[in-house]
Symmetry: C2
Subunit: 476 residues, 2 copies
């Protein structure tokens, strides 16, 4: 009865995907809504996922020479205005501080929506000579964007992220770092989050405010909508000129630096939910699961059962493991473990103990595997590894099955309306066509993928000669 | 010549301690000032110290069952006002957000100066039954207090910290957690930062706005001024009543929860500087040194020298170790290593290699120790351990030598004006005496230490019967 209620509380994903998402976010205890409109509280289980993301991403950053720093959370209005495109892009969506204590400020401060301007202001004083380059800095912090429509993890007024900001002596080096970080992001998504991504370049319409080029990784959610999962920007020397960031090069000439920035956010948790989740709740890839193994004793009041559960936990100490020894029924515990997406559960009862075995149940496939107790560590390790790679392959197969080709507007419309997913189509390079597709179908150009294909000779929209293949889609 | 310049750039600490502090903070490349008044940029070296503090403190938290979460950075004005004492304490020093994008907000939001109100608002909805207790949550974030006078690390408008917020079924359990965290802080300061602290309770005048009791750890800086280094508050059920946080207890009755909060900040970096630093710059305790060992090759252009330096670095892989292979002179490198407080340097040149030895120089004592190359790892480990404990003992001896006793106002005045340090003196418990001492001598009651002594029968100020021994001092 109780178990039924827990499971029934989730809307089916085929019935109402948005409601399913909200249900999972709440029932898996990832977040709670707050009295602060558009801002969420990240609960321990949700935050533990973020900590695992942070730790593994930060390690990868540091291997490439990234150093962490911390800049102020406020940007004086005059500083935000220094780069024209940048301020136009961000000013409409920032929060403004006008008073400090009881006093009105002489100059308004915005709460950082992103920190290019602060890093530029810092680099201007910190960089003098080619010996000071490159600067490869990153910060982990929260940023604020005054969004009207918000959804947990996907779009909120405040969110957590990392933002890397680098300065280089040459354009080539900046471009190299931009692509290096994009590749690092793509690799992280695939290897750690089990989410396959398309790597590509944004069109001018979709690029970051102030960037010369924006690169992106795009993932496909279970409902066929796209999610921009990380971006890496090459600024050329645009910001450097606006802020006056110059250095004396080896040839003794004064030159402007070339800059990049790149970021990933708590959005990734939304991506994990929407790529891997099912009608029983969350499904976490083992590498970001705060608990990888939940041991659930059966008939735990019988002598020796709990003791064995604890003994197995101790033997599995190399994993993130817990015993559910609460006084709930095993069925209820199964439902909770499934809702929270814990990769494997180990069922152990009196009969199992007698037979010297236990049952491992995989969260992604619901497969039950009998395991001899002496093989437990080895089997658990094997199953977690298998699950991690199966999840990636399943997500890749889903994405490939939901990637279509259109060569004209009728096909594009038909696919977008009937077969959710990515649509690959050729484009002339003219923003008018992008605008038209967005207006007609509410779909945007996701990226011009690095792996270009020749699908047809003409633009899907206007019929003029095509220049690029583009991934199109409706997006979060 | 160049070396000389680097060293000369620091003011002597005996000449002008405040200027010495500022010089060290800048020359050791811990921070940079920014265009945002009162806010600093924490540079890679400063941030790396903070990361080491975070990591070790967070591990200790988690061992006691703490779970990390993240609450919004904004507090609606109506929420801040719910607890009377709390709003009175904080409203005069918060930053107010009045506009989101182009729109004026219906209700002002302050940037969190601390998050009691947000946690209360969260707990009100999250706690229903005794089964939901205790809640032992913490968050790592930045907070804002609109200070007029600011100094790097010690007092800035934005600073980084952790804030723990817990909820319990009983007052006893809340008190136990309050003291547990204070002890954890004290132990962390001594074992990791090599800073001895006095543990005690704040007087009512000095306690946190809204707290029933505030406990503190107080450290003594090299100049004899005190620094409050961590606090732990017991709120009783005051906030619970103001916010309506109730739970159904085992006896089926509705009860208010009991709460605590506790925090430590980037101030600790200021404490490290002012407790351990000397006229050559920073001195870092090995456990929070981003680089523990700097290998400095002598005559590095001679064949085999750099190769040996790298080989030693690889052998010292268990430590945080670097080779300074820049083209600066060894003397310059020594100065930089000293300025940055790197605990030990290893000097290795052609003659050393020939003799199968190197020289280890301890940053704290400047002692030079000849070490046979085959003993290097073992010796380095031994010296770092020794240095860590010597630094603590030296700081303790300094504090003890600068702790005095006063039994009347004349003595108190004499000591405060002539012998910087803590003054132990008896107190009647009346706030009027605290006010008078503050007004006359600019000294405050630091705490009523747990280890009470009987120094005299009467209050140092008014001569009435004494109730408590208090540590007094001028403080940062």
């Amino acid at each position: 009865m109780a178990e039924k209620k827990l499971v029934e509380a989730i809307t089916s994903m085929d019935e109402d995907f948005a409601q399913w998402y909200t249900d999972v976010v709440k029932k898996a205890e990832l977040i709670e809504y707050t009295s602060v409109k558009g801002c969420m509280a990240i609960k321990p289980y949700g935050y533990a996922i973020w900590e695992l993301i942070q730790k593994q991403l930060d390690e990868r950053f540091k291997e490439t020479g990234v150093e962490n720093v911390y800049m102020p959370m406020f940007i004086p209005e005059s500083l935000l205005q220094k780069e024209k495109d940048h301020v136009e892009g961000f000013a409409p969506e920032v929060a403004w501080v006008t008073h400090g204590g009881l006093t009105e400020l002489q100059e308004r401060l915005c709460v950082r929506p992103t920190s290019e301007t602060l890093f530029c202001d810092f680099y201007k004083n910190d960089i003098h000579s080619y010996r000071d380059l490159p600067k490869v800095y990153n910060q982990w912090c929260s940023v604020v964007r005054w969004e009207k429509e918000t959804r947990p993890f996907l779009r909120s007024r405040e969110f957590l992220w990392q933002e890397g900001h680098t300065a280089h002596a040459t354009m080539e080096e900046a471009e190299e770092r931009t692509i290096q970080m994009l590749n690092l992001y793509a690799d992280f998504c695939e290897q750690v989050l089990a989410i396959p991504v398309i790597k590509g370049k944004k069109t001018d319409k979709e690029k970051f405010a102030g960037a010369e080029a924006t690169y992106t990784i795009e993932a496909l959610m279970h409902d066929g909508k796209a999610l921009q999962s990380g971006t890496s920007h090459n600024f050329g020397d645009g910001f450097a000129k606006a802020f006056g960031i110059q250095f004396t090069d080896k040839d003794n000439k004064l030159k402007y630096v070339y800059q990049t920035s790149w970021g990933m956010t708590t959005r990734l948790i939304g991506a994990i939910i929407m790529v891997h989740g099912d009608n029983s709740g969350l499904v976490l890839p083992p590498r970001v699961a705060p608990v990888q193994i939940m041991i659930i004793p059966i008939q735990q009041k019988k002598e020796g059962v709990l003791e064995m559960a604890y003994a197995l936990r101790d033997r599995l100490g190399g994993f993130r493991v817990k015993v559910d020894d609460t006084d709930k029924s095993p069925g209820w515990k199964f439902s909770e473990q499934e809702m929270r997406g814990i990769p494997i559960r180990v069922e152990i009862g009196p009969k199992d103990i007698e037979a010297g075995r236990c049952v491992i149940c995989r969260r992604d496939t619901h497969e039950k595997i009998e395991v001899r107790l002496e093989d437990l560590e080895e089997k658990a390790d094997e199953i977690l590894e298998q699950m991690q790679s199966d999840m990636l392959e399943r997500a890749r197969a889903h994405r490939d099955a939901h990637t279509h080709v259109a060569t004209n507007m009728a096909e594009l419309e038909d696919i977008l309306n009937n077969e959710p997913g990515f649509v690959k189509a050729m484009w002339c390079g003219d923003q008018a066509c992008e605008d038209q597709i967005k207006e007609k179908f509410a779909a945007t150009s996701r990226c011009m993928p690095f792996e270009q294909e020749h699908l047809s000779d003409t633009c899907v929209c206007c019929g003029k000669p095509a220049k690029k293949m583009v991934y199109w889609g409706r997006a979060y």
